[in-house]
Amino acid sequence: MKKEKVLIANRGEIAIRIMKACNELGLDYVVVYTKEDRASGHVKKALKERGSQAVYRISSYKDPNEIFSVADHSGATAIHPGYGFFSEDFRFARRAALRNRPITFIGPRWEVIRDLGSKINTKRIAKSLGIPVIPGSDEPIYSEIEAETLAEELFLKQKEQGIDKPSILVKASAGGGGMGIEEVNHLDVFRQVYRRIQNYAKRQFGDEGVLIEQCMRDYHHLEVQLLCSQHKEVVHFGTRNCTIQSTGRQKRVEVAPGFDPSIWEYPFDARKVLDDMVKYSIRLAEKVEYDNVGTWEWIVTRDGKPYLLEVNTRIQVENEISACISRISRQRGPVNLIKEQIRSALGEKLNFSQRHVSFEGTSIELRIVAEDVKRGFAPWCGTITRFEFPDEPWVRVYTHVPQDEPYEIPTEYDPNLALVIVWGKDTQEAKERAKDFISETIIDGKDSRGNGIITNLSYLYEKVDEVLRF
């Protein structure tokens, strides 16, 4: 096998994790960074391990032309997009595959990224496979009459179900990330909202298609972690619960597994719900011949019904909590999903199957962010002067913030400081360990006016108590 060289087209902690995975697999790598990130941990690590020829400065992480130039210049044979940036950009993956000098895109095939990258398309395929999806349109609506009929139907259905305050969501079909979404509480205002969203969609995305969905309240946000190979192997790594999110729908605390009936009582059969979600997720993966890591996002309502939301065709930040509770019988030590992802993308077989996978304990991920939770999670900017955290065998910390020198948070990017992954033999222990970790962590810093740093540590401490509780 030829020697592969991976271009890591990302920054921060995920870049570091990918570097580690490459090292463990014995692969060469190059990293890129922007001017603002020159002091970042991933650059330092790369310089230390591979020297200056493995480090390229670029003007933006988002310009594909630059990334491909670096790939060609450095002789990289594969690109790992991490998460964000190009990770779910099927055009980028397509270009990597179709250019004169093809480069392996570490992720699913571009066709899969394209087809599952659209929520509507995913919803339609899911529906055809008998997988439950949120009631509403499964293709963009362009006609007002059609939209109104559907809206009326959705309100009626909710009434029949005895839902107290029925409401629906009107979304721009080409949108995403919470943009172009409005809630409608009464049928009378529907037309107005529909027109507004339609205009917005046309202006913003050049496509005036609109989606209409029942608005779900009182639900938990769960995920199913899958790993597939190019040889039609499909393995799942259990479920995660990511219900604790900031107001901007950014995840803050994640737990694996998705529910724990031994510590909380659920108004439904939690075991069965989790099993169903996994079963459905695998059904869809097999249908589209999924061939890399991926996350199937679900919501579960109080009445114990799971609904497929979307598929994230990339490695996720919180992948490691699933890895942490998974054991592969023939392998020693915990699973490393990033390593498995790279191997799978390079065309290797998994060399284990579902019956070799077992689960042990509970894992919690905490995202330490410099933000003011009380002021709508507003990001904090400044310089970190001190960053200390306990070193325990049950915790893993990923951070690009150096511990030995002051670090100025670049204003261009989210002020994520660290990812903390705690493991315990059961949920109770994991929760206690997480709280212990938070209490012993010290972060000092100052902004330009000399005020002290604001982090979400106390918020995380509070929230840990509530995890997995419906």
């Binding site: 032309n65 055009r91 270009r95 659209s118 293709e139 362009y142 050049g206």
Partner: protein, 756 residues
């Protein structure tokens, strides 16, 4: 002569000097023959007038006059086309005001007094023209509209009408229509003034043509200087006369030479090439009569009529009255017209010109005569400008004709007669059903069933159809079906707006594939080949071309054009710059005419005009919407001369008839659309749309610079500015072309479309 005093001689010498400089005008300078010597001689006599004895002087003048006359005969013996152009441009040539003074008995200028005029280059006047019948005088009221070159009057702008000048012309045409008096047009223009300010050079000419096509009064035009589009603005007449020393051309010989010689801006155009082009363009009266683009020549003196040529004015008056008579008589009965024409003919043969008429003919028309006037006009223009080739087809002509007429009847019955019936029946059914009576229900239901059997529901494409490709996943895009060959390259291009909007460099396969050649950041449209539209705009497999047997030719025998034409045919594997076809958009059948750039820059000649008209007529008989998609047009093909120019009124007439019949005519401009076609059959559409980043205008920036002497900003012709000026009705994104077209088809147009 002998009686002349020395003072008279002085005056006479001035006229001699004028005659010599007139010859110099014609010959393009004093270099020809002994002109220089003659001129100096006259000059010398004038300065030393009193040095000579009277006898000596007279002798000198006498011999000089003889020599000048000899020179004049020499020049007149073989007038080359470029010399005719020079005659027309000479300051000594008659102008419209001379005609108004001399051919008409009285006139009142409307909307202008010299400089005080919205556009002094265009004159409109109410005038009285007289006819002598057996020594009795009869008066006719007419509207005179024409260009005033105003020799020496700078403000007249050399007879180049500004857009608002042509608008004024149109206004007074309508006055004449209201009052029911004939219009006499006098064309003295080197071309329209190429500015886009509202109402726009091209758009206004198009509007004029559109109105003239069905103006309900007799119109006679007289051409002295017919400069292409500018001439057409007041040229669509029932009878077209031309001065024997006038020219009527698609482009000035200099302009043609610059194009033919590929002369760079500011470069000098060789005189030889200009003369060559003047010859090739077939711009003289004789040529035009042979080409059939004019009806009759009004004889001038051998070297052309000058400002005080009273004999010529007399002749012109006679010809104008006679032409008006003929147009009027044709609407009455053919027999009356023939009798009249025969009589005149025998009279014309007489050596002595007689301007007396035998009878008095009233120029007012009844409504039915007006209808007939329009009918004759339509027939006349449809028969003109047929300089194309027809390739032989395996099945006979007669069969085709039979099929055409059958089809006409079929559609008449299907959508005319039956539909009217069906609409009535539907109305009754609705009224009955709405009673909601149980008793009626059984009755109406069986009736409804019978009705549905007789008139199956029209296949109206439903808005919510599941198969509807527009409503399908945004991922099932057209680029999966047809990919532009431009996309087969692994490289990136920079968007021209990158600096302004920060667009990233675009990977070519993405750009020409999925992005449809549109920059996703700023929306800049990169040009795409016309095949892309054939594949992506219409329903798969619905495009059926017709009239491919009509191919471009070289009707003027323009030197060197045969090779160029051959090359274009070989390169494109098509016979003309227009593709006409039947197609469907989401199930709606329509007729399309597409001008494309690969074939001689999408220029319009006889074949293109004919195919356009036939497509237009096809849309009319089949009651389908008609789309003109202009991938690019560079204007009228200069190599076909006035046969090309005449396509402007011809096609506009067809369009007018189509629109009046209750159809839907949509024009979509892409890339570059300029000149003649925009100023006629395209610009007259009520629905004109520009694709983003396209350019629409009358003349390109170079011509504007060269004719007006001022530069224009680089985005002068951009669709957005055309929209701002009110020339187009909207701008479409290429990616939404199909969708917008479908919506337009569903919502716009007259009542006579088959699916309405």
């Amino acid at each position: 002569m002998e009686q002349k005093s020395i003072l008279d001689s002085g005056k006479y010498l001035v006229t001699l000097q004028d005659r010599v400089s007139y010859l110099a005008d014609i010959k393009g300078g004093f270099e020809w023959g002994n002109l220089k010597e003659l001129f100096e001689r006259v000059q010398e006599l004038r300065t030393n007038l009193f040095e000579y004895s009277e006898r000596e002087l007279l002798q000198q003048i006498y011999s000089l006059e003889g020599r000048i006359e000899f020179a004049e005969r020499q020049v007149a013996k073989r007038l080359r086309p470029i010399e005719i152009v020079n005659i027309v441009r000479s300051v000594q040539r008659f102008t419209l005001l001379d005609i108004l003074e001399n051919c008409y008995d009285s006139f009142t200028e409307l909307g202008g007094d010299g400089e005080f005029n919205i556009d002094p280059a265009v004159i409109a006047a109410r005038a009285t023209i007289t006819r002598r019948v057996k020594n009795r005088l009869y008066y006719h009221q007419v509207m005179v509209i024409g260009h005033e070159k105003g020799m020496g009057e700078e403000f007249r702008n050399g007879g180049c009408a500004k857009p608002w000048g042509n608008e004024k012309a149109l206004r007074y045409m309508k006055v004449a229509e209201t009052e029911g008096i004939p219009i006499h047009f006098y064309i003295f223009t080197p071309g329209a003034y190429p500015i886009e300010d509202y109402p726009g050079a091209a758009q206004q000419i198009a509007r004029n043509l559109f109105e003239m096509a069905k103006l309900r009064v007799p119109m006679i035009s007289f051409i002295s200087e017919g400069g292409s589009g500018g001439a057409e603005a007041i040229g669509l007449a029932d009878m077209r006369l031309m001065a024997s020393r006038g020219y009527y051309s698609v482009i000035s010989p200099e302009g043609a030479a610059a194009i033919e010689g590929r002369i760079k801006e500011g470069g000098k155009v060789p005189r030889k090439l200009v003369e060559h082009c003047a010859e090739q363009l077939k711009m003289t009266a004789k040529d035009n009569l042979e080409l059939g683009t004019i009806d009759r020549i009004v004889e001038e003196p051998p070297l052309g009529a000058k400002r005080s040529d009273f004999k010529f004015f007399k002749r012109l008056r006679y010809e104008m009255v006679r032409a008006t008579d003929e147009v009027v008589l044709k609407t009455k009965s053919f027999r009356a017209f023939r009798a009249y024409a025969l009589r005149r003919q025998s009279q014309d043969k007489e050596k002595v010109f007689n301007d007396e008429f035998d009878i008095h003919i009233k120029w007012t028309l009844s409504e039915s005569e007006k209808d007939r006037l329009l009918e004759i006009r339509s027939k006349k223009y449809r028969a003109m400008g047929k300089g194309f080739k027809v390739l032989k087809r395996p099945f006979s002509k007669r069969l085709t004709r039979f099929w055409e007429s059958t089809r006409h009847k079929y559609y008449d019955i299907r959508y005319g007669l039956l539909r009217k019936q069906s609409k009535n029946l539907q109305k009754i059914l609705e009224e009955v059903s709405s009673e909601g009576s149980v008793i009626f229900k059984t009755v109406t239901e069986s009736m409804r069933a019978a009705y549905d059997f007789v008139f199956p529901a029209p296949q109206k494409p439903a808005q919510t159809s599941q198969q509807d490709p527009l409503r399908r996943s945004i991922f099932m895009q057209d680029w999966e079906q047809y990919i532009s060959p431009l996309a087969n390259e692994d490289r990136t291009v920079t968007c021209p707006n990158a600096e302004k909007y920060g667009c990233k460099d675009l990977w070519v396969p993405d750009l020409y594939g999925e992005y449809s050649g549109v920059c996703p950041t700023c929306g800049h449209h990169f040009p795409l080949e016309y095949q892309w539209y054939l594949e992506n705009l219409f329903d798969k497999g619905s495009v059926r071309e017709f009239n491919t047997q009509i191919v471009s030719d070289n009707p003027l025998g323009f030197k060197g054009f045969d090779e160029k034409l051959k090359k274009a045919i070989e390169r494109t594997r098509r016979g003309s710059a227009i593709i006409t076809f039947d197609a469907e958009v989401l199930g709606i059948k329509l007729v399309v005419a597409m001008l494309y750039s690969d074939f001689r820059s999408g220029t319009v000649g006889s074949a293109e005009g004919e195919k356009f008209i036939r497509a237009c007529d096809r849309a009319r008989t089949t009651r389908r919407p008609f789309l003109a998609y202009i991938h690019t047009t560079g204007g009228i093909r200069i190599h076909e001369g006035t046969l090309g120019v005449i396509q402007m009124p011809r096609c506009t007439l067809a369009v007018r008839e189509y629109i009046d019949s209750g159809g839907l005519y949509i024009v979509v401009y892409d890339n570059n659309s300029y000149a003649g076609p925009v100023a006629s059959f395209l610009g007259c559409s009520p629905y004109q749309v520009g694709i983003r980043s396209s350019r629409i205008g009358f003349a390109g920036p170079r011509v504007i610079r060269e004719t007006t002497g001022t530069d224009v900003p680089p985005d002068y012709h951009k669709a957005r500015n055309a929209l701002k000026r009110g020339h187009i009705q909207g701008i479409w994104d290429r990616r939404e072309f199909r969708k917008n077209l479908f919506e337009a088809l569903m919502t716009m147009g007259g009542p006579n479309l088959y699916y309405k």
